[in-house]
């Protein structure tokens, strides 16, 4: 069953897109990440122009994060105050990111920059995650509890604010900066940024773990919505039809993943995710280094 995408101007198999959305949805439900970091490379792989893949990815992330956020909202595991601070940074970062993306489109380096960013961030996050999970597993075996360092250089910064639900009294600068960085990445890489934000909130900000995922979804929802809008206006590259297919597959998959999650063991799950992230990273790195099969690329010239 093929569908012609009006903005991407390619014909795709609807079932393939639904399936992709579904599998990534299962992963996002399992691990509490948006899955954008897998979605964008996969879309490019099946022949969607990178500009459309990135912009449409944000639209799908908005749907997935809203679906997830509703669940956390009901369980009251969202720190709205912290989310707002990160959101202000996120919207600013996203606005900058969309402009950067437009410049990259102009000079023809979208592919390169997106691939490099993926290699750097996936490599770092995947590596850290694997390291943490392995250490945690060893600790569990030894029976010692983990101690988190609560005081570091961040606590010397000005503009301190109390975040009751996160159990923190810290400067607004670090959450603002984390939000802004994630906003830029969201716009350039077409990701929600959960895979960077969640570790940053736990290890950098030291937030209470119970509110981390809900708060990150809160920030991601608004940044993804804003990024979608900005891409639609600046680059006119959001494909609504592609988005619908991804969303339908994605939200169904996410619910399946959420049901599946509690039945699997958390630490092993995290190792699985770390290996998945590292796998994508290595594949992208290999593609940058090896001799290309085709030395030329074509680009559309509009207008």
């Amino acid at each position: 069953m093929s569908v012609y995408l009006p903005i991407a101007e390619v014909s795709v198999n609807a079932l393939l897109i639904l399936g992709m959305g579904g599998i990534i949805g299962v992963l996002s439900g399992l691990f509490g990440v948006g899955g954008g970091f897998l979605m964008t490379p996969l879309l490019i792989l099946i022949g969607i122009p990178p500009a459309v893949a990135v912009a449409t990815g944000s639209n799908q992330i908005a749907a997935a994060s809203f679906s997830g956020l509703l669940g956390h909202w009901r369980r009251k595991t969202v720190d709205v105050k912290m989310g707002m601070v990160m959101l202000v940074g996120g919207v600013l970062g996203s606005a900058i990111g969309v402009q950067i993306f437009a410049v990259l489109l102009e000079i023809g380096q979208v592919e390169l920059v997106v691939s490099l960013l993926y290699v750097v961030f996936l490599g770092t996050v995947g590596g850290l995650m694997l390291w943490e999970s392995l250490r945690a597993m060893r600790r569990v075996r030894r029976g010692t509890a983990r101690r988190r360092q609560r005081h570091n250089w961040m606590h010397g910064l000005p503009f301190r604010m109390r975040f009751r639900q996160s159990n923190l009294y810290i400067s607004v600068i670090p959450p603002f900066a984390v939000g802004a960085l994630v906003g830029v990445l969201a716009a350039v890489m077409g990701v929600g940024g959960g895979f960077i934000m969640v570790p940053a909130m736990i290890y950098l900000l030291g937030m209470a773990t119970s509110v981390v995922v809900g708060t990150s979804l809160f920030q991601i929802l608004f940044v993804a919505a804003f990024t979608t809008l900005a891409h639609a206006i600046t680059n006119q590259s959001v494909d609504a039809l592609l988005a619908i297919l991804l969303i339908v597959g994605g939200v169904l998959g996410a619910q399946v993943g959420a049901q599946l999650g509690p039945r699997l063991r958390a630490e092993q799950l995290r190792i699985l995710l770390a290996l998945l992230v590292l796998g994508v990273c290595l594949q992208l790195a290999y593609d940058l280094l090896r001799l290309p099969d085709e030395m030329f690329v074509l680009e559309r010239v509009d207008g």
Binding site: S65, F66, S67, A225, V238, A240, L298
Partner: protein, 262 residues
């Protein structure tokens, strides 16, 4: 060889234009043709299309000497395209500076009774612009490219062939009794909009004796048309609608699953 061709082209064009004024010896043979579709609509479930082209040769006199051939070509709208060659910098492969090809057809399919080179003379190819080399124009090439123009032009042809957008079928036209001809041209699913041009060239002794020309408009219709137009004319409304659609879908999913799986 390609360089010499480019240099003598203006001269040849004048000569061929003059020759064209003279009445050709075989003007008695004319093409009568039909296409199975006069337009192509890109709908949501568009997965390519086929155009059946058929026709006959009309004559007032007995069949002249020499072998009769036919070429049937469908070309998509010509647009500029940017070609980049990958370069290795600091160990990784990146896109080099772009070279703008001034015009290249977005689609090109040609079917003939025999390979083009055997039935179409050089000058006739240039005059009627049948071969793909005649359709890809690279005029303002940068200085550094002078020795390498062909590589960039070939890249367009190679990449579009790989995408199924360019193809040649040297034995794709069936000609019976030196009078009736037919072929089928397949249009791929990844078509772009615009006016496509269908041409039927009748040839004898490597000379074109008659040409039939028809425009086939290819257009998005229905939902495709609506979404594309909205994304261009009111990008803000399109963006807001996309976001609202996403929020609605997210809420729906959450509500449905709460209802079915409490």
């Amino acid at each position: 060889m390609a360089e010499i061709r480019t240099r003598i082209r203006p001269f040849l064009l004048v000569v061929t234009a003059l020759l064209g004024v003279l009445p050709p010896a075989t003007a008695e043979e004319r093409v009568v043709a039909r296409l199975s579709q006069s337009q192509v609509a890109i709908t949501t479930n568009f997965s390519g299309s086929e155009i059946f082209v058929y026709g006959a040769v009309r004559r007032e006199a007995p069949i002249p000497a020499g072998e009769l051939d036919a070429i049937i070509a469908i070309t998509g709208p010509s647009t500029p395209v940017l070609v980049r060659r990958k370069e290795q910098r600091y160990g990784i492969w990146i896109n080099g500076p772009g070279v703008q090809i001034d015009a290249a057809p977005s689609f090109y399919a040609v079917a003939a009774t025999r390979p083009l080179r055997e039935i179409l003379s050089f000058t006739e190819d240039m005059r009627h612009r049948v071969g793909i080399e005649e359709l890809i124009r690279l005029i303002d090439a940068p200085e550094w490219l002078q020795d390498d123009r062909a590589a960039y032009r070939d890249a367009v042809v190679r990449l579009r062939r790989a995408d199924g957008l360019y193809y040649e079928r040297p034995d794709g036209v069936l000609l019976s009794e030196a009078t009736l001809f037919e072929t089928t041209i397949a249009l791929p699913a990844n078509l772009v909009e615009g006016d496509y041009r269908a041409r039927i060239l009748l040839l004898r002794n490597k000379q074109v004796i008659d040409v039939y020309d028809e425009i086939i408009p290819v257009q998005k219709v229905g939902l495709e048309r609506f979404l594309f137009d909205l994304s261009r004319s009111d990008p803000a409304i399109y963006g807001i609608a996309s976001v609202l659609m996403a929020l609605f879908a997210g809420w729906m999913a959450s509500a449905l699953f709460r209802y079915f799986l409490p």
